[in-house]
Amino acid sequence: MNVFKRLLRSPAGAAGLALLALLALAALCAPLLFPGDPLAIAGPPLTPPFTDPAFPLGTDRLGRNVLAGLFHGAQASLAVGLAAAAVSIVAGALVGTVAGFAGGLVDEALMRVVDAFQTVPGFLLALAFVSVAGASLAVVILAIALGAWTGPARLARAEVLSIRERDYVAAARIIGMHPAEIALREVLPNALPPVLALAAVIVGNAVLIESALSFLGLGDPNIVTWGSMISEGRNVLRSAPFLSIVPGIGLVVTVLGVYLLAEELADALATRKARP
């Protein structure tokens, strides 16, 4: 709650928070404002924006409502971003904590696995995974997490290694605390803040990777995403550029919001930690 207050006080943090709140609102309102399938044909194809009050942002090649797509796309982007970040943070923090706390052979083995994953670019990993496992929302989320969990794992391990040597961990051993309890109650909560700050960056990347996958036609075909909208608009880029620009702006706003927030969140968490 203290961190939240500090976020609001900084202009960048407040702006990031506002952008993301807007996005969340759009995602939540999508089914209310645009009930029904956003992939359904709603009117004449290729209506330009601001000409028909029924379609404020126009329609695409098949006559689908672009505004409805934008709102539903926000839902997909947010869901994928948050889920992928959650999966990679949880997996990464656990692997990192175990590696840092156990040390020795366990640490070596786990960190070589992390190395192996890190040598392959995250997007390629996601691409390969989706091509093999087939395109569905869950697979896309897992595919993105596959490339993103190594960052949190490394950071968590580094934090654990430093916290493990602190006096309060020694004090916990001295009062006879079980090693599992020390790891979960003394070490993990104090190792987590910097790892959590990484979450925002992962959300931003996940949104971008999801869009790129959709753009390449590897997203879930049953839901609207900004990436698939841009891909769809590419064929008529010269005659109807708005079809790519509108979801593109959605992407820019989301990623901008996420990065602004991430930056300030890292700062706010760092100062909180620095307090004696």
């Binding site: 006096d167 309060y168 001295i174 009062i175 104090n190």
Partner: protein, 263 residues
């Protein structure tokens, strides 16, 4: 004397850093009797903190044994080690580093009670209040986060945590060195009166011979990982036999009540 409370025999510990070998501990033996304070003094890097941590089984020695009431601590592991920890506790130098940054005073004092099953859930708040009282703190401090109280209060909470399991020995590793001088005296008084009430034994580790002398029955002086001198406190200070002992005595700042002499 009968079996000492703590008997350390032939402890050695070598550190390797950058190809060089540093003797952290070199064949160290000492003993502490029940109810006694053994002061352990030495310059920085002499191995006194390493010894304290080996006794606490925070560091594993290369060689030697740590006998506590006849039981070899270095042979214990897992559950048996955690169980015996209740009888030997420790207070660290920096009270701000010795507590989980998220803990409240009550959390810090409840943990040892819970772990060793010393008080039922309903009895714990009362035990916490008693512990706070025994170190001269008001019981309404229990709800405060440890980071929100003063350094001197924090060190009292650290002592209360050490007392929670009613140990027979407390290892004090530079426990008053980070405190303000006016607070230091109060904490030393507290330690001495707790010893009188409960028959506690202390292993009092410090670089400051004057402070060690004030609270110790016996003093051992360490340098380069070895015990270079040991004996009754008054004797060691009045007539140090080792070079390190003489240097430590000479280095104690004297309070000059007259004008400094211009030499």
């Amino acid at each position: 004397m009968s079996t000492p409370l703590l008997a350390v025999r032939g402890l050695s510990k070598t550190y390797r850093s950058g190809g060089r070998e540093v003797k952290g501990l070199d064949d160290v033996s000492l003993s502490v009797a029940a109810g006694e304070t053994l002061g352990l003094v030495g310059p920085s890097g002499s191995g006194k903190s390493t010894l304290a941590r080996v006794v606490m089984r925070l560091i594993e020695p290369d060689e030697g044994t740590v006998d506590f009431t006849g039981q070899n601590l270095t042979a214990l592991n897992g559950k048996a080690l955690r169980a015996i920890r209740k009888r030997i506790q420790m207070v660290f130098q920096d009270p701000s580093a010795a507590f989980n940054p998220r803990a409240t005073v009550a959390d810090a004092l409840t943990d040892p009670l819970r772990i060793h099953g010393l008080a039922s859930r309903t009895e714990r708040p009362r035990r916490v209040a008693e512990l706070l009282e025994s170190v001269g703190l008001p019981e309404n401090l229990a709800a405060r986060p440890v980071h929100a109280i003063s350094g001197g209060q924090r060190q009292r909470v650290a002592i209360a945590r050490a007392l929670a399991t009613e140990p027979e020995l407390i290892v004090l590793d530079e426990a008053v060195s980070a405190l303000d001088v006016t607070v230091r005296g109060q904490i030393l008084d507290l330690l001495v009166s707790l010893q009188r009430e409960r028959g506690l034994a202390y292993l009092f580790v410090s670089h400051d011979l004057a402070v060690v002398r004030a609270v110790s029955h016996r003093i051992a002086i360490m340098d380069h990982g070895r015990i270079v001198e040991a004996g009754p406190a008054a004797t060691v200070v009045a007539d140090p036999q080792s070079e390190t002992g003489r240097a430590l005595v000479a280095a104690i700042p004297r309070l000059y009540r007259e004008a400094p002499q211009d030499a």
